[in-house]
């Protein structure tokens, strides 16, 4: 099953490369932007560059984008019918498909990462303790599960809405502002920083990035993993309820 999905995803490799490049542009522009700021509180120039390089790589690997497909192809055009007839859960099949995309983006990301480390070793800061690296890996895996479930929930909204672009774009904006894609969360105004830590989005990009950079001690990493688990359970229950209610509404005519 995995290899079938991978084959399907691999067919679209040129598109995947363009999508990877898409994810690179904003962080690269922001690296240049911060070079014009005299002092960045709590960050050195190398750390901030490293932060955005990690945002590029981890953004490609961890940030799922299946919501458009779920809404447009599966729900609106009726593609969901084929899934409902299969002896596998829709969530599992979608996860396998998305994992293939993330894997391919991860391979491209790793090549770019190695290239950056080779060309600009001084611009790259990475955790050097194996314990922290191991915990960072757990944080990253949890972040992947978190983004996947969140995007599934967003996609399922199409059961109740005829036009979903507005909601998807709003979600994208909120994610960019609060997940750490735009800037490290510690550089946000204090009031906003406090709010952002209560939301699940920081656990999707910001914490995995800062974990790999070695900015988080073991105790904080354990705490982050705990909060991530809490959000995963919440999203999973929410998804299940939404799915149950949505399938009852689904008419499979294709709008």
């Amino acid at each position: 099953m995995f290899f079938l999905q991978f084959q399907e995803v691999f067919e679209a490799r040129s598109r995947i490369i363009v999508y990877f490049l898409l994810g690179c542009i904003t962080p690269l522009i922001l690296i240049l932007f911060w070079r014009g700021v005299k002092t960045i509180p709590g960050w050195t120039s190398a750390e901030i560059s490293s932060y955005y390089l990690f945002v590029i790589i981890l953004g490609a690997v961890l940030m799922c984008h299946q919501e458009d497909h779920v809404a447009d192809i599966d729900i609106k055009e009726g593609g969901l019918t084929a899934y409902l007839l299969k002896p596998y859960s829709y969530l599992k099949l979608k996860f396998l498909n998305e994992i293939c995309y993330r894997l391919l983006q991860g391979i491209i990301g790793s090549i770019v990462l190695l290239l950056f480390i080779f060309l600009f070793p001084s611009l790259f800061v990475i955790a050097n303790s194996p314990q922290i690296l191991l915990l960072s890996f757990v944080v990253a895996v949890n972040a992947l599960a978190l983004t996947f479930l969140f995007k599934m929930i967003v996609g399922l909204l199409a059961f109740w809405m005829t036009e979903t672009t507005g909601v998807f774009e709003t979600t994208e904006v909120i994610l960019t502002l609060t997940s750490g894609i735009l800037m490290p969360l510690t550089l946000l105004p204090l009031w906003l920083e406090k709010i952002v830590y209560f939301l699940p989005f920081a656990y999707m990009i910001y914490f995995p990035v800062t974990a790999f950079e070695g900015r988080l001690p073991v105790a904080t990493l354990v705490q982050v993993i705990g909060v991530q688990f809490m959000w995963i359970i919440f999203f999973y229950i929410f998804y299940k309820n939404l799915w149950r209610a949505g399938v009852k509404k689904y008419t499979a005519v294709g709008q």
């Binding site: 040129s14 363009v18 932007f33 960045i40 507005g166 502002l177 105004p189």
Partner: protein, 265 residues
Amino acid sequence: MKKIKYYFKVYRMLLRLNLLKLFAYRANFYSSAVTHTVWSIFLIVAIALLTSKSSHVFGWTRNELLLMAGCYTVISSFFYFLFSRGFTDFSNIIHFGRLDSILIKPIDSQFLMTCSHASYTQICRFVIGAGFIFFIFPHTEATFSPLLILWFMLLTIFSVTIMYSFWLTLMTIAIWFTHLDNLKELLLQMNQISRFPQEMYKGASIFLFFALFPLTLVVVTPIKVLLQKASVNDIVWLVVCAISLFIISRKFWQFALRSYTSASG
């Protein structure tokens, strides 16, 4: 002259058709309006957050950078209003061989490909951008004069021409690589280059600076005029870049059409 009049007449008709479509698909209209409003606010909020702990970036004050974000919103709203929907369908039209029917029409193919759709909901973007400019302008050191607005509007035409030429040149690649239907997404991201100070790219690499030079003029030159900091050279560069890029993109489109192989590339 007769030909220009004819094209204006066709364009007026296309605008009317687009308006009818807008009223026919109301859910799409509301969704699109929400999208443009949210992104315009985001562009301004993003700069406000990025500069929340620094007063100067590359010699630009925080308020000047915010003004730049407002100007970018206004200039891009014109571009997106006129051309974004045309470019959205661009690669699909080529990929599915629908360019055939455009090529046999008694009208310029580039005009039909890029100008046949207008995105009315971009008005939301314009209103937010213009409103923000009026709010932030008194907080800069410049003094307001109606003549500055006229200059700004005039230079906006050249800025939009640069954006259009850049998009057309890159989208034309779809004639050879028909699967690249996400090129538009890439270009949307590349437009962002113009909403930051030019000096940013100069410091990075001289090659990068020259490669991106036309895009860096799009917002910087009109804003320099608003702030009364523009030199004659700045304006000349914008005009020369706009005209030469337009000619190059036109020639490139005509050259690419020779390689068009019809249905499904």
